[in-house]
Symmetry: C2
Subunit: 319 residues, 2 copies
């Protein structure tokens, strides 16, 4: 990709979605900084509309698509957060959205889609189930455009706007850490850092029970996510052909943590940062604790990707 074009795309996306997205707060905790021997700022996309960062890419993707075809409607598949984001972004633009979700999606994410007026089609629990269902739908619904939750250039550029916002008030960061599932937020973060603050290292945090991205980087080929075992329901997916080359080129490294480490970090976020996050969002802090040689004494930006989870699951985690 042309360097100037990417930079302009990210700026264009930021301007294009600005009036409809929340410029999310940045929080810090002296206690967490002391405990982990770092200086961390948390960019809180759990306060984004629909409770996750996915709203930015969904909105930008819809706006771009409407430019090309003003009569199109939208569909997508999602384990939950993208479903809510797509439904709300469509609603804002007076469009319909049909989303394909696994039967085991958290109830709060299902409720969120319905609240935004989205139509839900439940599928089996694997990505292949969802992709098959949406492909069949698209063959019979010619006016619908399918938007991919992570492997789509508009999503990646939409995600990049988070880092752009974060850097506008915190240009002195050494590194940024984000979780890795489908790779959309990691690719967007890496692109934004590369084009606006190339001194910043970008790390991915992946569950050790779903470490397909680490394997993909190691082999140079996208590895499937087969029977992922992790509490982080947003990170059970795999990389795609649009985001993988960006990740290969611009990401410093992807490191893993297990679910126990994720839960420990999650507790620290609830206790000291006072915010509600879903398990996926705890991985970057868990990474800092596990790999002090990489992260100690650094100025680190963490993107809190979302806060959608069933409270009954919190009871299980905190008991």
């Amino acid at each position: 990709m042309d360097t100037i074009k990417v930079k302009e795309s990210i700026q264009h996306a930021a301007e294009s979605i600005q009036s409809d997205v929340v410029n999310t707060p940045i929080l810090q905790s002296q206690y967490i900084n002391d405990k982990y021997s770092v200086k961390v700022i948390f960019k809180c996309e759990n306060f984004q509309r629909t409770g996750s960062f996915k709203f930015r890419g969904a909105l930008y993707g819809i706006k771009q698509s409407i430019k090309e075809d003003k009569d199109c409607q939208f569909c997508g598949h999602s384990s939950g957060n993208f479903a809510q984001a797509l439904a709300m972004a469509a609603k804002i633009n007076q469009k319909k959205a049909t989303v394909f979700m696994p039967q085991n999606a958290p109830q709060t994410k299902v409720d969120g889609v319905r609240y935004a007026g989205g139509e839900i089609v439940f599928t089996g629990n694997t990505i292949v189930d969802r992709e098959n269902a949406i492909n069949e739908f698209l063959t019979t619904h010619k006016n619908y455009k399918g938007l991919h939750p992570s492997n789509d250039y508009s999503m990646i550029i939409g995600n990049a706007t988070i880092t752009l916002e974060m850097l506008s008030e915190n240009s002195d960061l050494d590194m940024v850490i984000v979780p890795v599932g489908g790779g959309g937020i990691l690719a967007g973060t890496a692109l934004a850092a590369h084009h606006f603050a190339p001194h910043i290292k970008v790390y991915g945090a992946e569950p050790s029970g779903a470490a397909d991205a680490v394997a993909s980087l190691a082999t140079g080929l996208i590895q499937p996510s087969i029977q992922p075992q992790t509490i982080a329901d947003g990170l059970r997916t795999q990389l795609g052909d649009v985001n993988f080359p960006i990740i290969q080129r611009h990401v410093t490294d992807i490191l893993t943590v297990d679910d126990d480490e994720t839960i420990m970090a999650m507790k620290d976020v609830y206790q000291y940062l006072k915010i509600v996050i879903e398990p996926s969002s705890a991985l970057p802090l868990a990474l800092i604790k596990k790999y002090p040689k990489v992260f100690a004494n650094k100025r680190i930006g963490i993107i809190i990707t979302g806060g959608n989870l069933d409270l009954i699951n919190l009871a299980e985690i905190f008991k």
Copy 2:
């Protein structure tokens, strides 16, 4: 009190503590607004230093005391939040703080005091136990000044700065609701509203199992808090002779909710606002749901007073 003097005191307090306090974020949830048929803004003092609004008054009280006697040290009694606030505010001013806490204070509040370098003296669980202990301490520690968590003019004025901040960006509110325990935040809020936006009605939200403030207003005499039964550990205390006259004069009404209603509201705050709050902070939203004739279709400011609680208690609440 002289009107001009009060107004100037609040402005003076705001300037005096500004560089050491967090100008806490204001959050909203479209979902909550729709569900409760209101427009609510939440001023999030759970993001204040030490995790509660108490830091403002403690800091202002200490700064004012040091002006009068630069060599004094500090002590106070608290069920937890004021203890942490006093310890941290003392530390910032290179002072010592000794706090008298009940044995049943949440562990996180105990840890917070220790983190801030405060010295803890555990007492029995009643207010009388704490007051007796601190009075005995003061007879033998002449260089110590006792600061009261709620019945002290500096605390009340410090608390008033929250409403001042909230109004600076939201002057169009119809009313503000805050919880009532010792009465400090209610008196501070009422003073600020009266002097900066007299059209705003101020309501107190009190647990029905600890409704001494309602009884105090009804009888015109401060009623003791005898065997309070409520999940809201910060609201088990009673009004005092400094804040009661302010509450009598400037508060529109105090209404009650029971613990089940509080827990329902607490769940909504976690689920839709994505923030960690202690039970006491959920009462104002519970009030809105219970009394639609008073609150429906109004523009309402709610002060989220704190976010300090043991996560194990969340497991119990959300199960």
